[in-house]
Amino acid sequence: MSTAGLSAADMAAALRRGEVTPGQLLDDARAQVQRLDGALNAFLAHTDELADRQAQLAAQILRDDPAGASALCGIPVALKDVLCVEGYPTTAGSHIIETFRPPYTATAVQRLLDAGAVPVGKTNCDEFAMGSSTENSAYGPVGNPWDVERVPGGSSGGSAAAVAAGMVPISYGTDTGGSIRQPAALSGVVGFKPTYGRVSRYGLIAFASSLDQVGPIAHTVEDAAAAYAAVAGNDPRDSTSVPDPPDDPSAVLKDGVKGMRLGVPREYMGEGLEPGVRDRVTEAIAVLEGLGATIEEVSLPSTDLGLSTYYIIAPAECSSNLARYDGVRFGRRVERPSVTDTLLHTRDEGFGTEVKRRVMLGTYALSSGYYDAYYRRAQKVRTLIAREFDIVFASVDALVCPTSPKVAFTTGAIQDPVEMYLNDALTIPVNLAGLPGISVPCGFSDGLPVGLQVIAPRLRDARVFQVAAAYEAATEWHLRRARLAAA
């Protein structure tokens, strides 16, 4: 019987009982990828040699020191294609660095390698992580395992689909405005965005540096907690890295929510929510109340400014970060007689439409004459939004709300950029304030998964897991698998 679709915790237990080897887990993962990826397009590259080497290393660690081995030792994982792995393709979903082979490995990836995790490949994503559907990849869209005609969400759509399809139990994505949580919600899996600075950004291809954060996608809260713990912690190579050691989420997973005060932000339950999403989330909140949490309505009045603030700050940072793609040190170059024309054509041919749109928007917001009205103002509103979270966290321990206003939509259905941006309205404020947030499956609307979002104060990553684990233990949504994933 194939191990594909098991949780990482179940795989780890089977490894320790000697029922399977890391090599067998890898074979099963590869077979599942082989069987399903023609329909899904979740992977952009396979890291075969590295995976074989890691499976051998994991077998050795499990032989020599089974008690000391990481929870991820021998576990197949997938990496969003914005994380650098030395020597392997890292395209960020873009043509402009199609041939790039990173000369070094990202810190988060190195920690996984040291732990004996087995990376099977690099996952598809929106170009430079800009999007909410993975339709902006230069290498084609990704199918949602629950309905391949629909998007898996984005930008970490390949990572979410790879877990939802049972190819790997754990994948890593990045979340700048919701790009882990929203695809997790739309794909029926768990997705966690850590407090800004908990996971090193060294070796992560930058989109918006003050917002980007690496985090895991998994079937269960327990797996997500272990996957987070494996990569979290200070890194001297990232100057925005949090200096103090991360709190251990595994210690509080069974603590429950009895006596906990949970806030429901009124603005997150307002207009724009699909009725099915509202119903499932309302039911999920009732479950938490039944477990002994106190539920109270709270207000984050500037929520509706979050999207506007984000669509100045993120494009501004991206326009600066993407200036490096000039065809000089790496990536594609479209040669023209003059240096300026070479630059203009290299970037015009190398970047896709959404990237150009955001580079233009960011350049405009930072340009002379508009800086004060847009960029400086957005940075001030960012302060307002962060302060409002501080105020509500003085009276509640965590917030519970929908992750995405809608369930997975049909590929190609949303053409208007602003309508697409609205998909992230409920995840963006969390990035602006640098908070930890998780999405956990909380049921279905018309057969498509709905996600419950849990948000906690900065550095209280463990509390997010505690609330999510309590909800998960009381429900069975996390055990549901897409029909396509079943062998």
Partner: protein, 95 residues
């Protein structure tokens, strides 16, 4: 106020994006639409509110300036579209 064609061309040049006329027209209209949507920002009361550039509250993260191994010349040049073996090679900037 919609962006003029000249403004779109100016921003595209600042961003070093060699857009053709059709792209300029399309992106210009889309930027107008996005800017209109985010004009809500202009209503926010931000008097006396400081700017947030980053949320980590970290200030001046230093390390000792100690020599350590870094990328070799070979690795650093390996991804370049053009080199002379020691340096990145680009077209002449001045005639």
């Amino acid at each position: 106020m919609p962006l003029s064609e000249d403004e779109v061309a100016h921003v595209a040049m600042l961003a070093r994006l060699g857009l053709d006329d059709e792209e300029k027209h399309k992106l210009g209209a889309e930027l107008d639409h996005i800017l209109e949507h985010i004009s809500a920002l202009q209503r926010a009361d931000i008097s006396g509110i400081p700017e947030t550039a980053q949320v980590g509250n970290l200030v001046n993260v230093w390390r000792e300036d100690e020599p350590a191994p870094s990328l070799t010349e070979e690795k650093a040049l390996a991804n370049a579209p053009d080199t002379d073996g020691q340096y990145f090679r680009v077209g002449a900037i001045q005639e």
